[in-house]
């Protein structure tokens, strides 16, 4: 249901360039975040600062760069127009809605729920869904391994080089080391999976099931309806 909400929100804000629609969608995302996430005050402050760091300068830069005819002022020889102001505001709101909804989804959804939905409800091919599961499972391991390789390389190269070519070469060496370690890991994973007859059957039993509450279904339906309304009238 959260996926439906996320995609509907994204499609809606992409379809409209009206200030009213954009602000309505941003407001709806904010209301959902306030009522549904249960974030602490400190976390809210962090998120707001984080989003403002991106959206504030974005709005100003776009106002300077976007074209327009109705001049309302001038700064450093650049004409500031009313059309550019409106369009910049709309595009900034769109960016904010996309970013914020994505943060909400990522921070409130367990990755195993995403896999269950892919396999059980969306009927995505098993191999693809399990590849997603595998990627998610091995992400922390890869990050840890990359960190260890970097630490080892830093200890060997006691003084950092100012030469750009050496710096690039060292970055490549680092990437190669990580990729090589990853390739070795692939061999072990494949051997283990083949040993467990991963390819033995075309279908798999999925024990985990998701319960969708009436509230969630209503919310998803309302979002889809709102998306259709935005596409038609926005």
């Amino acid at each position: 249901m959260k996926g439906i909400w996320l995609f509907s929100t994204s499609i809606s804000v992409m379809c409209s360039l009206e200030l009213v629609w954009q602000s309505s969608w941003l407001l709806s995302v904010l209301i959902i975040a306030i009522t549904g996430t249960g974030w602490s005050f400190v976390r809210w402050i962090k998120v707001v600062i984080f989003l403002f760091i991106f959206s504030g300068p974005l709005f100003i830069v776009q106002w300077f760069l976007l074209p327009g005819t109705d001049t309302i002022g001038s700064i450093l020889g650049t004409e500031l127009t009313r059309e550019a102001f409106q369009l910049s505001l709309v595009l900034t709101m769109r960016a904010l809605t996309l970013s914020f909804s994505s943060i909400l989804f990522a921070s409130t959804t367990a990755s195993r729920d995403v896999i269950t939905v892919l396999v059980h409800y969306l009927r995505i091919p098993q191999r693809f869904a399990y590849a997603v599961a595998l990627a998610l499972r091995f992400m922390p391991l890869l990050v840890d391994e990359a960190r260890r390789i970097r630490a080892a390389q830093q200890r060997r190269q006691l003084t950092p080089s100012a030469n750009v070519y050496i710096w690039i070469d060292r970055r490549y060496n680092y990437l190669i080391a990580v990729a090589n370690s990853m390739a070795n890991r692939i061999r072990y994973i494949v051997m283990a999976m083949e040993g467990k007859q991963f390819d033995g059957a075309t279908t798999r039993t999925v024990w985990r099931k998701l319960d969708f509450s009436c509230r969630a279904i209503t919310m998803a339906t309302l979002t889809v309806v709102a998306m259709i309304v935005t596409i038609i009238f926005g």
Binding site: L58, L91, F128, L134, L142, L175
Partner: protein
């Protein structure tokens, strides 16, 4: 002409060539995972670049988003590899949280995948030399640029900025995707760590046919 017919026959009849093995899937998954974390962070950095320098500055990092699919194709060399790898990468990005939203992540992945698959099909999955890789890395840019100009509003900028953005994206695709893909792939080839893949048994491999 006869060679072309033989190669089409090879693609149609040799199922083992077209079928993705478990090792292929694991490699694609791990490349998508290896790309998922950096691109998820990079998307926020890109947002900041967009704030500071508009579409010109944000376009400089485009190549980094494309590298994993091309690298997977370079190593595995089978039909559908780019499509599945980019799709996996998009899924990971969505789960990790991206600054541009799920629609952009999926659309970008599909645009890159379509172009990469098309060109490697035209190359019959056999041309993986420098020119082919660099050509594909540049060719992947324009389709996504056209789509993104509608989705993110680049089309509202004037023609000079629009064209400069496209040129910067092409250069970024070349330098940050094509060149690293070839270099990383070739250096990996020497290590013999990727022996289960077509790449290690190809003609350009120093390991030769029996690797």
């Amino acid at each position: 002409m006869k060679r072309r017919k033989n190669e089409i026959f090879f693609l149609k009849k040799n199922r083992s060539f077209c079928k993705l093995t478990l090792a292929d899937w694991v490699l694609m998954a791990l490349l998508a995972a290896a790309n998922g974390v950096p691109t998820s962070i990079l998307s926020w950095f890109n947002k900041l670049l967009h704030s500071l320098g508009g579409p010109l500055l944000t376009s400089t990092t485009v190549g980094l988003y494309m590298i994993y699919g091309l690298l997977a194709m370079y190593i595995i060399r089978k039909p559908g590899v780019a499509l599945f790898t980019y799709a996996l990468g998009a899924c990971i990005e969505i789960v990790m949280g991206t600054a541009y939203g799920p629609l952009i992540a999926l659309a970008a992945a599909m645009c890159y995948a379509v172009v990469a698959e098309l060109f490697f099909f035209l190359f019959r999955y056999r041309q993986f030399h420098w020119v082919a890789i660099l050509y594909v890395s540049i060719a992947m840019v324009p389709l996504w640029f056209i789509v993104v100009s509608f989705l993110l509003g680049y089309r509202y900028y004037n023609v000079t900025i629009f064209m400069l953005t496209l040129i910067i994206r092409c250069i970024s695709g070349l330098l940050l995707c094509g060149v690293p893909t070839k270099i990383i792939g070739d250096r990996l080839m020497v290590t013999r760590a990727l022996r289960p893949f077509v790449f290690a048994r190809s003609d350009d491999s120093p390991n030769g046919e029996d690797a």
